[in-house]
Symmetry: C2
Subunit: 454 residues, 2 copies
């Protein structure tokens, strides 16, 4: 029997046990935003890692939640596994078919908060390490783990943690938490994340709301906000914040080649969202280039004055907008904040307060790193098909805080699917995808260590 | 004893009884927006009018609340008294020092929902009619009353009611519901109201909110709304809706003369509202001209996407703005709706839906009408000072539906004060102002009938 036939057989034999073990982890309602079950889950994850042979310990940085670090195996190569054990709040809870923290199997699908993002991958990768040892032998490389407990609330303590514990985290490659099959069921491999800069813009007028008959003479912060916002992006969706687009790295020929191969089901996307067309009327390669290589400037929320039914004749005292910028290299949150402030000041909008809410740098890595090549090979061998390689994922996460800081080329693939509903009700993964991720990760360890897949 | 010495003595003698009677009316929670106590109050007001000798009846138009019409007295002149017996909702109820529907006297002030707007004036005017008869004799003119029960929710049935019952409402002059002393305690007389056109602007994007990482390609209705709004008014507060300002009647020399005499306490107003300056940096006559003779375009509310604390990375499915235009002659709600639609369409904003919410035409009347001259004379005689004459009040109401329809010159004066808190918690009037309005209205009847005040 070839090496991975034994491995696969073992995984299939233990499939029920693997899934049950994941379900146990899902039952812990690790909602970091509400501080629920964080310490308890950290302890459970630590114990589970130790059971898989990882010499691990839980550390706290500056009052943050437990961060679990550890290592196992030995070899010339070191792989860092980044996962997080916290999950998003389950609301709107009423929209779940079965309760978010009572994992439930229906028709080959496992539902529960965190199955896809990201307890599933965390658990599958530990199970893969055990299966490797049980069927192939001692790990041919050193595997380091980094499990954090506040990814869903902005990873506040991660950057300083990484700096402080760099020596326990350095590696030749990193596998990132997330990974999904695309809408057509093809496995995907991704090579980075966009960054994000989230701000609240706030304008104040009179001390309290005023009767709107006074709008002849009393300044209206809602208008100030509208006028300020209108200077940030034009009607063709071009960001007009002074100088911002100058920092956007233009796609290289290699980037364009990756993009050309990427599927984007335009008709399906339009149908899913109920839209007649895309921004700027784009289609084809231009649409994909925009999606992956352009930053965004998004009004995520507008709030001012009266929001109820019917009419209320009020001149608002305050107006605010939630605004997020998705960042591509070489944009960074601090840079965007500075450009935005200067842009508004230059136009007389010094009264528009900018409140930084959340920032993460983009992180992009080449397609020819050893980690990327190993991921592609592992997926090809597992799924029997060529994975789709994404230059980056359009979401964000604390990748730069780990991988840019330590200069570790990173790759992402995992057990999710295009309808996994991360952050939404009825989060789910296919049971088959869960088992396949164990199979793929075992192969990834093997080939990243320099061994041949057969 | 001169005519009005007897009248005043009678009013002072009965002051306690008058106030107690008003308090009884205030105890009825006539919140038309919630359909509370409307029929009950209509019946109470009808009975009270009859007791004052008014041959009145309650009519209903097309399922609306009771509208009370009636008349009393005889003479060459006919006066129409317009009041409404419904009140605003009391919320936020927690901010009332004493409950809104338990009228309470504190330090010479009467607190309760409706004492100023407008049950106080309604009751005072009936009491004045009785006092006139008790001390001077039969009324020297015909007085018609029109009491409606849905002024606070837009007077939906009033226009058709007035058309149908025009013969019972025609008059040579009209006294309007409201009137206030200004911040310096001077009595005021007003000659009209601004109109209003209230719209909701709504834009729809994707079927549901989308993760903001998709903002590269999925259209954002919040941006569409911002861009559309920004075309309606410029940063110097000039309304830029195509053609709208062409319909604004420019102030005449007589208007400017009225305005020059009007006080506007700029420092006090800035202090009250906590603002550094007025719109467009205006002061003095230019500020007052803008306040009274310019229309407004006010964002009363903005709603889109995430409005909670912290950040949520969402691309909203819907964005809406509540927008009110305060109208001066010759702007009318339908005209504004047409101009707004054409303006948006011309700029490619056909996707911005305009939902008309509430409209009232402006109504302006000359300072030299018999009603206006009688009001000034009555106030001068009552208060011993020259009243301040406002060309119009900057609020709105169904004045045009009554007075423009029937071509009745109108005037407004009443028992309110500059801090009466209409529509707000702790609505109040001074007890002395209430008694003075009875005194003033008795004099108004007398002089409007063509008799001399002595």
């Amino acid at each position: 029997m070839a090496t991975f036939e034994r491995f696969d057989a073992h995984v299939r034999e233990h499939a029920r046990e693997y899934v049950d073990e994941l379900k146990e982890l899902i039952r812990l309602p690790t909602v970091s935003a509400q501080g629920r079950a964080v310490d308890e889950t950290g302890a459970a994850v630590l114990a589970r890692a130790k059971r898989a042979g990882v010499a691990a310990e839980a550390l706290r940085a500056d009052g943050g939640p437990p961060t679990i670090v550890g290592e196992t195996g030995a070899g010339k190569r070191t792989l860092l596994v980044y996962d997080h054990y916290d999950v998003q709040p389950p609301d709107p809870e009423g929209e779940w078919t079965t309760p978010p923290f009572e994992p439930t199997e229906r028709g080959g699908v496992l539902y529960g908060r965190g199955v896809s993002d990201n307890k599933g991958n965390l658990m599958a990768r530990l199970q893969a390490i055990e299966a490797y040892r049980a069927t192939i032998g001692e790990l041919p490389l050193r595997v380091r783990v980094l499990y954090e407990g506040e990814e869903e609330i902005g990873s506040e303590h991660l950057a300083s943690f990484v700096k402080r514990h760099a020596d326990r985290l350095r590696a030749d490659g990193c596998i990132w938490e997330a990974g999904y099959k695309d809408a057509a069921g093809r496995p995907t491999v991704s090579l980075g994340l966009k960054g994000i800069a989230y701000f609240e813009l706030r304008v104040r007028g009179a001390k309290q709301d005023v009767h709107s008959s006074q709008a002849t003479i009393i300044p209206n912060p809602a208008w100030r906000l509208v006028w300020a916002l209108a200077t940030l992006k034009d009607e063709s969706d071009r960001i007009t914040v002074d100088g911002l687009m100058d920092h956007v790295r233009r796609p290289t020929a290699a980037d364009r080649a990756l993009i050309e191969k990427l599927p984007l089901d335009e008709e399906g996307t339009k149908r899913i969202h109920g839209i007649a067309g895309f921004v700027r009327g784009l289609t084809g390669t231009e649409l994909k280039l925009k999606h992956f290589f352009e930053p965004t400037c998004t009004v995520c929320g507008l709030t001012s004055g009266y929001a109820g039914p019917g009419s209320k004749t009020v001149l608002p005292a305050v107006a605010s907008a939630k605004l997020d910028f998705r960042l591509v290299p070489d944009l960074e949150p601090d840079l965007v904040a500075r450009l935005l402030r200067a842009h508004l000041d230059r136009r007389g909008f010094a009264d528009v307060e900018i409140i930084p809410m959340h920032g993460e740098r983009p992180s992009r890595w080449p397609a020819d790193s050893d980690a990327a090549k190993a991921a592609v090979a592992a997926c090809r061998a597992t799924y029997g098909t060529e994975p789709v390689v994404y230059p980056l994922m359009v979401g964000s996460g604390p990748m730069a805080q780990v991988c840019d800081e330590l200069r570790i080329p990173v790759v992402g693939f995992g057990a999710g699917n295009a309808a996994s509903a991360n952050h939404a009700p009825n989060e789910n993964i296919l049971l088959a995808d869960y088992i396949d991720h164990i199979r793929a990760f075992g192969r990834f360890l093997h080939t990243f260590a320099g061994l041949r897949l057969d």
